[in-house]
């Protein structure tokens, strides 16, 4: 019953979304507020409806309704409840439901606001969000139905159908296939929803941008209205990316956090368009420039969000993530193509309205440096995009599929990331409108002095890698300049207001949250850069086979192999676990327990043991093979310097976000 109910509700929701689109367009052109109001209410009604549908699916997942094919394919009896529930996004059909659910929730939230002053935007915000929602619902209803059940015909064939084929009876397997063991991890609870929250929230600023284009109200109102949405989307996307890195680092056992896998890049690309957008909207608010560019960026972000969902969900690319192949690929392609062309046509139609109010004059002015930041992000985006579609392009032009691997991305984006780091330091020092090398130099010389000590100290400490020397110098530059900026602000307040240091710091930040929160986020970024430089430049690894009692060395550490244990675990997996003692300079630091688990269905899983400090990580993998024995155990050991700063940086990032986004009483993102 629940399956039919869930599916039926989805169909009603789909029809409501379509009605909402039609009513909003009709209401706009016939200037009928009642039709627009009706469209808005229809859209708001989709949310409780999708809740019903999603809860039905979650209930069936939690209680193991194995006659439902989706439930059968993603859960099994031995999975803990939290993983059964989160299996909602464990497979393609369910994650489309989840996407629609979020879309509907955000669309409802945004249409609930008071619209008095912005009444003309409303119908088009409704249209864009409802079309997006309807697209995803149509994929579920026509292509990937999570409510389809298994039916057995008289000759014994079992196949999934929504409605009973004639003469068939319902088939209920006694247990499900279960989620791939690699996905049975707490990471599964947070990583996909965070990414999706980020993806879907970017639809809202896009909807307002389209509304601004259609209605011709192309001032910065749409940007001010969606400032908060953009920030929220960007932060969730960032957190989702970092969580994915952490999950890969903890579980996959390849010693790193980022593999330039096409699906990773697919999730990174909306971030690469959204980050410059987040920056350049400030230029439009403050200076009335870059209007066309902002439109282009948000259109790109939206298309890349859909493209990202498509890449992760269609299986067009070979990737560790591409665990679903299906017929929805062409549908995505058509949808992205259509929305992109329509949005772009609108932008061209309004092109002259979006001309800058002020001309950019000085190459070193704040706005010019923001533009440079935009271009650098855009460059990285182009590199990533080309890399992902390179196989397709080369096949079309040369008949030969040519792919590019991680070295391509590292080499092509490395200098651009470096330039962004440098820019993060310089930009806060330049003035709006007009700056010269002299004015920037006057502001920069004090923080530049301690900065220059960094490469000298590192050189004395025997660091000879020029990438690292340059990278750490830039990191130090950003940190010193940011501290200096805070210091200048605090000192000024102390002088004029007579406040003590702490009060001054607090009030300074509270007065200009976006600016000082942004600075904290910059610090977070460079702290993360420390971790990335550390692991990218200084990672070392070794592979050795040891017998119990033997030792191995890596980067000043000694690892002694103490014992090996093999035992069954309660959920049926066979665990093989080694114990190693870690020594440095003859002093015992602790024990490490790398292991590999063999699941009853033959899926092995390698769990690395990690000893993590602020200075470095020791990352030990028990290399799995059937004939591991006390006499012969192969280990792979990585030494990952500084990688912990990557995670520490993401903590600082959250702090910066809270500072930037904490609700302020007098103006809640309105003015």
């Amino acid at each position: 019953m629940l399956a039919q109910f869930g599916f039926g509700v989805l169909i009603v929701t789909f029809l409501l979304a379509l009605f909402s689109v039609g009513a909003a367009i009709f209401g706009y052109y016939s200037k009928s507020d009642r039709w627009v109001e009706s469209a808005r209410r229809a859209l708001q009604l989709t949310f409780p409806l999708i809740c019903l549908s999603a809860f039905s699916l979650i209930y069936m997942l939690a209680t193991g309704h194995f006659e439902v094919e989706y439930v059968y394919s993603v859960i099994s009896r031995d999975m803990p409840l939290y993983l059964k529930v989160t299996a909602l996004w464990g497979g393609q059909a369910g994650s489309l439901v989840f996407w629609s659910w979020l879309m509907s929730a955000f669309a409802t939230a945004v249409t609930m606001r008071k619209w008095e002053r912005d009444r003309e935007f409303l119908p088009w915000v409704v249209v864009v969000t409802a079309i997006t929602l309807a697209f995803f619902l149509s994929l579920i209803i026509f292509f990937e139905n999570p409510f389809a059940r298994l039916w057995q015909t008289l000759n014994g064939d079992v196949a999934p159908h929504m409605f009973a084929p004639s003469g068939a009876i319902l088939f209920t397997p006694s247990n499900g296939n279960g989620l791939n063991e690699l996905l049975r991890h707490p990471g599964m609870v947070f990583h996909p929803p965070m990414l999706y929250l980020g993806f879907v929230a970017f639809v809202i600023p896009f909807a307002f941008a389209i509304a601004a284009l259609v209605t011709g109200r192309t001032d910065d109102r749409w940007i001010r209205l969606t400032r908060r949405w953009t920030l929220v989307a960007w932060v969730f996307l960032s957190i989702g990316l970092v969580l994915g890195m952490r999950w890969a680092y903890d579980v996959l056992g390849w010693g790193g956090y980022w593999g330039w896998d096409p699906v990773e890049i697919a999730a990174l690309m909306p971030w690469l368009a959204g980050t410059p957008f987040l920056h350049s909207v400030m230029i439009q608010e403050k200076r009335g420039m870059l209007k066309q560019w902002n439109m282009l960026l948000i259109i790109l972000t939206y298309s890349l969000v859909i493209f990202g969902t498509f890449l992760t969900r269609s299986g067009v690319l070979s990737s560790v993530h591409a665990f679903a192949q299906s017929a929805i690929g062409p549908m995505f392609f058509i949808f992205i193509g259509l929305t992109f062309i329509i949005s772009l046509s609108l932008l061209i139609y309004r092109w002259s309205d979006l001309r800058a109010e002020v001309e950019m004059k000085s190459l070193l002015s704040r706005e010019a440096l923001f533009l440079l930041n935009n271009l650098l992000f855009f460059g990285i985006l182009i590199v990533c995009f080309l890399g992902v579609i390179f196989p397709m392009i080369s096949e079309i032009f040369t008949g030969q599929k040519i792919t590019v691997g991680p070295p391509f991305y590292q080499r092509a984006t490395g200098p651009l990331w470096g330039a962004l780091l440098a820019l993060m330091g310089v930009a806060p020092l330049s003035a709006w409108g007009y700056s010269t090398l002299k004015t920037i130099g006057r502001a920069a010389w004090k923080p530049a002095i301690p900065t220059l000590l960094v490469p000298v100290v590192l050189f004395v400490l025997n660091v000879r890698n020029w990438i690292a020397l340059l990278g750490f110098t830039l990191v130090a530059f950003v940190i010193f300049i940011t501290i200096y900026e805070y210091w200048r602000g605090v000192r000024a307040r102390r002088k004029t207001q007579g406040e003590d240091y702490l009060t001054a710091l607090f009030r300074l930040t509270a007065r200009n949250r976006r600016r000082y929160g942004g600075y904290i986020i910059h610090i977070a970024m460079v702290v993360m850069a420390v971790g990335i430089i550390g692991i990218e430049v200084f990672q070392t690894q070794t592979q050795q086979t040891l017998a119990v009692g033997q030792e191995m060395q890596i980067s000043g550490y000694t690892l002694r192999y103490d014992s090996l244990a093999q035992f069954p675990y309660s959920d049926g997996r066979q665990v093989t676990r080694a114990v190693l003692s870690v020594f440095k300079n003859g002093k015992l630091l602790g024990e490490l327990h790398p292991r590999y688990d063999l699941y009853p269905d033959g899926q092995p899983m390698t769990i690395p043991a990690i000893r993590s400090t602020l200075g470095d990580d020791l990352y030990v993998v028990l290399v799995n093979w059937e004939n591991v024995s006390v006499k012969q155990t192969p280990f792979k050991v990585y030494h990952n310097p500084l990688v912990n700063w990557l995670w520490i940086g993401s903590g600082i990032f959250m702090l910066g976000y809270l500072v930037a986004a904490w609700p302020v009483k007098e103006a809640i993102g309105e003015e």
Binding site: S73, V74, G91, Q92, L150, Q152, G156, D157, V158, A159, P160, P173, N177, N180, G253, G315, V316, S318, V320, A322, F323, A324, Q325, E359, M360, K361, L363, L375, L376, G379, I382, V383, L386, F390, Q400, K401, I402, T403, V404, G405, P407, F408, Y409, R411, A412, T413, P415, L416, Q543, T545, Q603, M605, T606, V623, N624, W625, V628, Q632, P634, K636
Partner: protein, 169 residues
């Protein structure tokens, strides 16, 4: 702002030159990195047809792992196995009944063209019979493929149209 005379043109020229420089830098980075890191994506059959011209080039080959040929030496971390030819594009794979079936057919069909692969490193978790191997490396003069990177996919472990345990019950 009034469209100003000389000054305006000069400042615009500055920006255009600056923009072109960045564009040139990005294009240079892309081209030089592509040249250095391009990998030819081929099937086993295609590699066989052009094997002479492909020796030493950076290649990416996809094929089905033949389980009985997997050998791993835990002392040297040397992994050798044989892959059988599978079609290179998704459309062909779908037309032949989906990835799982294509991989299975490739492994059980002795007439399929095969390729020996050698790889140094830990044995990946998904390395097993009828997995799809995507290997990156180069072809040696001896006709053996020397892989630097190994990516594996087991379609049966993830989603499938009709659960295999259910069919034929």
């Amino acid at each position: 702002m009034l469209p100003s005379s000389n000054n305006g043109i000069r400042s615009r020229a500055k920006f255009i030159i600056g923009g072109l420089l960045i564009l040139a830098a990005v294009i240079y980075l892309i081209f030089s990195s592509t040249k250095a890191n391009a990998e030819y994506f081929m099937t086993v059959d295609e590699l066989n047809a052009k094997s002479d011209s492909m020796v030493g080039r950076s290649l990416r080959i996809s094929g089905a792992v033949v389980g009985s040929t997997i050998q791993f030496n835990p002392d040297t971390h040397n992994l050798t196995f044989v892959i059988a030819n599978v079609p290179g594009n998704n459309a062909a794979i779908e037309a032949q009944g989906g990835l799982a079936k294509v991989l299975h057919d490739a492994v059980v069909d002795p007439t399929r063209r095969r390729l020996s692969v050698t790889y140094n490193g830990p044995k990946p978790d998904l390395m097993r019979d009828e997995a799809q191997a995507i290997i990156t490396g180069h072809l040696g003069e001896d006709g053996v493929f020397y892989a630097d990177e190994l990516l594996l996919k087991c379609p049966t472990k993830y989603e499938q149209a009709v659960p295999s345990q259910v069919t034929g019950n």
